[in-house]
Assembly symmetry: D2
Homo-oligomer: 347 residues x 4
Amino acid sequence: MPERTARGSEHRVRLGLVGAGRIGSFHAETIARRLPTADLAVVADPLADAARTLAGRLDAAWTAEPAEVFGADDVDGVVIAAPARAHADFVVVAAEAGKPVFCEKPMALSLPDADRAIAAAAVAGVPLQVGFQRRFAADFRAAREAIDAGSIGTPQLLRPITRDPGLADPGGVPPWTIFRETLIHDFDVLLWLNPGSPPVSVFAMADALVAPDFREGGLLDTAAAMIRFDNGAIANAEASFSAAYGYDVRAEVFGSGGMVTAGSHEVSAMRLYTSAGITQQTVRANTALFLDAYTAELAHFVECVRGDTTPSVTGADARAALAIALAAMESVDTGTAVTIEEIEARN
Amino acid sequence: MPERTARGSEHRVRLGLVGAGRIGSFHAETIARRLPTADLAVVADPLADAARTLAGRLDAAWTAEPAEVFGADDVDGVVIAAPARAHADFVVVAAEAGKPVFCEKPMALSLPDADRAIAAAAVAGVPLQVGFQRRFAADFRAAREAIDAGSIGTPQLLRPITRDPGLADPGGVPPWTIFRETLIHDFDVLLWLNPGSPPVSVFAMADALVAPDFREGGLLDTAAAMIRFDNGAIANAEASFSAAYGYDVRAEVFGSGGMVTAGSHEVSAMRLYTSAGITQQTVRANTALFLDAYTAELAHFVECVRGDTTPSVTGADARAALAIALAAMESVDTGTAVTIEEIEARN
Amino acid sequence: MPERTARGSEHRVRLGLVGAGRIGSFHAETIARRLPTADLAVVADPLADAARTLAGRLDAAWTAEPAEVFGADDVDGVVIAAPARAHADFVVVAAEAGKPVFCEKPMALSLPDADRAIAAAAVAGVPLQVGFQRRFAADFRAAREAIDAGSIGTPQLLRPITRDPGLADPGGVPPWTIFRETLIHDFDVLLWLNPGSPPVSVFAMADALVAPDFREGGLLDTAAAMIRFDNGAIANAEASFSAAYGYDVRAEVFGSGGMVTAGSHEVSAMRLYTSAGITQQTVRANTALFLDAYTAELAHFVECVRGDTTPSVTGADARAALAIALAAMESVDTGTAVTIEEIEARN
Amino acid sequence: MPERTARGSEHRVRLGLVGAGRIGSFHAETIARRLPTADLAVVADPLADAARTLAGRLDAAWTAEPAEVFGADDVDGVVIAAPARAHADFVVVAAEAGKPVFCEKPMALSLPDADRAIAAAAVAGVPLQVGFQRRFAADFRAAREAIDAGSIGTPQLLRPITRDPGLADPGGVPPWTIFRETLIHDFDVLLWLNPGSPPVSVFAMADALVAPDFREGGLLDTAAAMIRFDNGAIANAEASFSAAYGYDVRAEVFGSGGMVTAGSHEVSAMRLYTSAGITQQTVRANTALFLDAYTAELAHFVECVRGDTTPSVTGADARAALAIALAAMESVDTGTAVTIEEIEARN
């Protein structure tokens, strides 16, 4: 049989993962099992057991010290899936160590932190990609392409929503999570689907309707934000932490020449017709709803690590979405509309 | 052949119509052609030609004097489809003449006018029905039934929208039309689909994106309103005067136990599959989209005239939706959230 | 008040109904309540009680003698909704009496009977319309328009189906009902949606799967027929008498340039989202599924009676669909494909 | 950094591919890029250039001699994607060499060939899996699960279809391809979705409607088959080689208690609303429509090679679907219904 070239290790990218929680574990599986050109080199988590178990299952090394990942010679890039409050610092450390970084959203919880992270990556000259995976979903991508093609004219009314099926542990959810970690996806979608037009002002309402007992602790589980953009477009973003029917993420962009919608809840194209009517089964996990998108965003990161391209979702994108979230939070606190200008001035 | 009872004239209701414009003409056709137990007795419009032409086409009498309709002995009930600013006065006159009244929305443009109209009907003891026809649409009705049955739990997030395909004559549209005549439908839908919970406060944005040249004249063609209700529910209502793809009216009610949606844009269940993809044709006129609902609301009015039932959509409903519209208008003017309490206090 | 012309009786068409069963009663209501320009003059049924009750409810005269309807001076046209075996004779009598005739499908059970009926109407010069109401349904009409417009090219594969939700009284169903009374609709749809191309041969299978106990009595409740047309197109028509999920009537026409589909099962555009998934409610009665189509076909008949137009669904159409049904029945008996030519030669 | 276990080569399965044509190349990419636990070891094709190019692109060895793949020590299993006429022989040779075999459909073109292939695998004790990938599609799987759960009762009417968007080279298509290579998928779907009930008889029609110029050469591009099963169920399978609107594969199973449908044509959940209506984009390649299913079937084969499970789609399944195809072909030739018993007796 003719000789074959050994599958060259120079072709494979070795990724280190920081954070072995729910989304970290999922990213680990994506790297190990769904990306043909990447290897999961090492998993770090201060919870040593979590790191060890995950690494063991996927044939990777492990450590309880994130610093070891950033400093490892045999790691070509890092994926940060730690708790949100640690993101910015980890991005800085990774960048300073010269590692390309993929950081889960939100990249930072304040604009100064966002600026630090962005600057660190810029100074180090490493790619910095942020985890807004909806941009990689086929239907959201097709929506953007239709907008770019001029099929709907100028966006005028935008409606992104996120509805999560469950709130497993209301006690463990930090107060502003619905804006900083959930609606931040929708804010990014808005910026991405109304390209070139910066947000101007934000008015928001939020409440604890799902878990009212946790209201005192600051938990907000239901929220809506109205955003005005520079081109006059008005957006209504909306989120809930308790959709009984499954994971529901959608976007609708209405423009001067038409409308485009994205988002599907269905598990498959199967339909069941019985005396109860016609039934579709719904998706119950974001990792199921966005399986292909999560894989595609990490495949994109692998290409960035290799130097084949640069991140399509950047630190600047993370910062822009964060500014909207901060304005929305302040609007909830004050009951008034808040401008992005005010947020910038104050931060 | 056995004798048959003559089709008793005592069974038929004779209706007088005030207003021979677009919606008036449509109601006239419904009365004359789609309601088996009603006759169109007379049409009134100060534009004598309009009245004469419509009446001639439908075999009715006509007059240029609305007062003649209210005073006519052979008119059992009146349908008011005049310009909005005349509605309240006409309701008062009709009621004082002892005629049951169906009034197109908005029943009034101010709360005192609404109160006058309601009081006049109450004093006269005549039925007063208002033209929120969405309540008679099969899908909206089924949505309400699902809510009443507890299928979605307590409403938490509501999203009604109205998108009109065209703005034929931007110059002829009074400044606040989008709130007082268009979104007032959506506000009524909100009150109806979140039953028992009064609105608390309203924040709104509006702009002239479709016809910017008419902005100076006060025309607003794109608007959104966020409304908080007493039970914590948050609503986002939205309207545009220029949907390129057709007439688009929807409502979505998300609750603690599920979600219900209503609204369809399609002309029929026909689908066309070609190299361009799969295409559905869309509806382009509200009278086509709501043909059955418009017929059902007038059939209901006929029953009210006969005394078989009382109006399911009342003057009080019109007033409640108007209060939200007024709050939204003030919010646009001031840039702040406006409470219903303030609106009530000021009116 | 200005004088108005009395609503002229010369404008209204007086219809006589023969047959006060399920579909007859429904047609009676359509005539009396949904057709503005028609009156139900008289109802005839040998079951005097049925005739009396229906007529009483709708303010019509009644008789137990169909002949009285055909001979009545104050009847402008007759609607025949008697049992199928009586249709052809009634058409002949009505035509001979000079009455325009609307006849429910099947117009005849044999080709000679069909020919007699057609000839009688031709000789008398009266309009003869047959009750293939699908042709008046918005989606089926739109499908035909798309075909006429060339949007799908030449039809190559056609799939009409009928599924009835229930078989209330299997013992009362004549043996070949599924072909002669149910699939005959689908055969007509085929002829109408593959215009200009006659059927050539038919192969069919049928069985008693729903009510096997009635197999001995000849009841067939599940059937399929494959038909080849002169232009090469192949059709698969299919019917069942027991669809657990509701009334299901569809058609799909696949052509050289695309595909068009018609048919919907949904009660309304309402969708319910719960932990059980997304649910649509389904229609359970043909009179609900085709309410508008049944009204439109009788409105068309009224126009024919008035002489404003001629029937768009003729006795010749009924005969052509019957020939396919007869070929399918013979195919079930013989287990072989049967040509339309053989059917014609034998009849 | 803690030591990590090297990613064990004992965990990876080395596959050899025979056939570097369209579907072979696609399988090669699946193995190399979408299966984390498999490697593409070698590609064989008598067209040396095709083998070399494909292997080069995917870092595999290559050869023009299929026999070298079957005999290679470093190949753990083989994937046969050669022309259909060579399938059975290759299965035999592979099995005799002790290699687990995945064979594209059709596994054989005659029953004796199918029997030889099945026997060879049985004697050698190697797994033999056949490429009916629809069984691995999420919607088809969900349909089967619903049937197994009793949600639709006993199947009574089944409707599988395949419509291919294009016929690139009509001259190169062997005469019976539409039955042996296309509808064989649908026949397998029937056997799988009406489990436990063998087919009894088949009636089929076929024609050259897409490319009539090739009719003389025996090309059939449009076909339909009606199949009766032992439990009384009747199926209508249908195929075309030229769907203008894209790749269209569906199945509908109607049963005594309901109905289940599978199949979708859409590229994504994106919808575009314009003045032309509402548009969905359609899929144009089977490899796009069934990407996940093709990956899942090879993942299943990898598990079979490892001995973790046994094939869920067997040589016996291939033989059963082939028997229906042969009956359909004979039916087209004779114009009569053909029993499976006759086909068995004659082969």
